[in-house]
Symmetry: C2
Subunit: 416 residues, 2 copies
């Protein structure tokens, strides 16, 4: 991609109405645009990161047997009356009437929808277990939305739902889902602690949350840095400097970001919708359900909170919008030669299948181009200038490291 | 995919509240679920078709230089006041207040959003032309929504927006977009006529619509079957049996489905949002815009309207949820042998990278399995039964053709 053609430009200044680091850096870098508080548009750079996060999620969820589908945001009131969540969620659910006077809302989650739809798909023990998921937009009328992409009023969610004949089957899948979640966060460059938490309107059982330590979070996690044992502060009797009940090391406390959660729902939703299956004896029993959420946009915001410095973002390679940022600095002596070499290397990189953002913009100083590169945060910065031509090579620098080395183009291609 | 594990089952009867062929077949086939009139969930089978249509669209739009992004559904009222479309669209736009009393709506289209966002990206003639697009959910409070997936209240839209320095540049891209659109429809197995039509609230100029001839449509197209010239009945003085003004053949008239449209927007939106660029002399001029829409879900519904028979759907290979429907009919003589052979062939097909739906369900008759296969409409049906084992082969039938032939498994794999 030629940077001169890229839709979305960097901003010199922090946006005035943002307090969170992720929103400041993502807006300044041209990754997102803020339409309202908690409502962000993804511009091409941000969309590329989002798609990579989604791909990692799809791979891991498909690997545990997930089938992808795509449900609607518009929801009829009567569906939500069956679980009494029309009123229970009224503070965060956008609810309104259409032109004909019918009451409807925008889905804040999809347990009701899936329980209803599944009555057409689940009849017998032979149909179980089943795992379905979607990556789809959710809406929540959050009273405070000051954390950039971490707490949105409109946001993407990967929501997975599992259906089982009994608790044993649910527990078996719950472990697999936990494994998939750990892989997803790790592949996205995050260390997540698993904590127990309360189940809200979803379930009376405890649930599990995945917490990434960060000042930008709204939660508190008491954690053991040694063995990884952790609890959500809300339900924990443990305090800072207490002894870890698992390994005896010292517990620490930190303001964390919830990047995912998994719930054992039991039969609350299946009973409300008459979602029953016939067992081997023909007896009808309610289906046991679980639900499992990750917000790809929140994940993106969290990655920025964790991977940044005073100059900008440091994307992990797995989800960076591009792998290489190729920068031409034409100079005054032989700008045509520099341009020619840069174009040649761009062609070579593209031919090798490397994802390259090529800064071919005219009229900018080297300093301005380097500042943009640090802000955007692509892992490999490659500079072609008069200086590098003299040394018959290209200057390669890893984002976040100070040392830049000059190497032959072919050696860099080999290294990639 | 094993059909015994597939989420979404076929229904024996037509759904009672549907009149359109596409909704009847797609619901009966387990492709979609109806949450409300005009509001359909995509189950795994339908989602697979949708993803294939989206891939074709992405390939063709990327090829003409489109950059993908993803904009928000929630829209603040003040943004739409700038073009006076808050009132102009109030009959079809879902508009409501959030908990803090702020007025907002759900985007029925995104010209306003893009014109506003582009003021951060377009400053100079050097930044033009630019082409951006998204595949994203739109909401329209349609008074009648009886056409299944063809007229939705919530539906996916591929909307492309182009930005230009002048009409000449717009016209140049308009031709390219037209070419991309023709490729998309052709690759999806549709013949689309291009007609002139009125621009509604978008533009005072005429626009172009892509119309597929079908009884399920809400439009009328006067067309020449010989040279392809066509006009929308609304603005045409031509009638059935008139002479084609291009080639002199006889014009025909038919109830058609609009599967896409392209608009020259001029400077209406850029002037409303102060979207200006500096030309070579530094003079500020309004950006000239175009917009280009295709509904992937409507396309899916249209394909079903055009490709069906009394038994069910006939998917074109390019967008079929699977390429092969492998069916085991265990019989009574040697059910284990049939099962073993079917499992082996399923493994062979998967190893070859073929997309296979494997009907491994137990307790169904051959007739029930064949009826489901015809309803679902996968192009190649392959049957393994006692009969085919005797003949040392598999029975291959193309959907829509009567003749089934027995061939060796390896010959079928080669043919694929």
């Amino acid at each position: 991609m030629r940077q001169s053609r890229l839709f979305g430009k960097t901003l010199r200044e922090d946006p005035k109405d943002e307090v969170s680091i992720n929103a400041k850096l993502l807006e300044r870098g041209g990754f997102v645009y803020k339409t309202m508080a908690g409502v962000y548009d993804y511009l091409p750079l941000g969309f590329r990161v989002l798609r990579k996060i989604e791909s990692i999620i799809r791979e891991e969820i498909d690997a545990v047997g997930g089938q992808e589908l795509f449900l609607t945001a518009l929801q009829p009131r009567d569906r939500w009356e069956k679980t009494k969540r029309w009123d229970a969620l009224k503070d965060i659910m956008y609810q309104f009437k259409d032109k004909s006077g019918r009451e409807m809302g925008l889905a804040a989650t999809h347990e009701e929808a899936l329980a209803e739809i599944s009555t057409r798909s689940i009849f017998s023990y032979r149909d179980l277990p089943l795992f379905v998921y979607q990556i789809q937009t959710k809406f929540r009328d959050e009273p405070r939305a000051k954390s950039g992409l971490i707490r949105g009023r409109e946001f993407l969610m990967k929501d997975l739902y599992s259906f089982h004949r009994d608790e044993a089957s649910l527990n078996e899948f719950y472990e697999k889902a936990d494994g998939a979640y750990r892989s997803i966060f790790k592949r996205c460059g995050l260390t997540a602690y698993v904590t127990e938490a309360s189940g809200g309107t979803f379930t009376k059982q405890f649930t599990h949350e995945y917490q990434v330590l960060s000042d930008a979070g709204e939660d508190w996690t008491v954690y053991c840095g040694h063995c990884g044992y952790a609890q959500n502060k809300e339900i924990s009797s443990l305090k800072d400097d207490d002894t870890c009940p698992k390994c005896g090391d010292v517990m620490k406390m930190a303001r964390s970001i919830e990047v995912g959660n998994i719930f054992k729902l039991g039969t609350k939703f299946s009973e409300a919708f008459g979602l029953l299956y016939a067992d081997e004896k023909g007896e009808k029993r309610p289906v046991v359900m679980g639900s499992y959420g990750i917000g790809p946009g929140r994940l993106l915001g969290t990655i920025v909170e964790v991977h940044n410095d005073e100059r900008g973002i440091l994307w992990p390679e797995s989800i960076s919008p591009f792998r290489v940022h190729l920068i031409e600095i034409p100079g005054k002596m032989s700008p045509e030669t520099v341009k020619k070499e840069a174009e040649k290397m761009y062609g070579d990189l593209v031919a090798k299948g490397a994802e390259v953002l090529y800064d071919d913009r005219v009229g900018l100083s080297a300093g301005e181009k380097f500042a943009d590169a640090d802000l955007i945060g692509i892992p490999w910065r490659v500079v072609i200038s008069e200086k590098t031509l003299e040394k018959k090579g290209v200057e390669v620098k890893k984002r976040g490291e100070k040392a830049a080395i000059v190497m032959k183009e072919k050696d860099f291609l080999k290294m990639l």
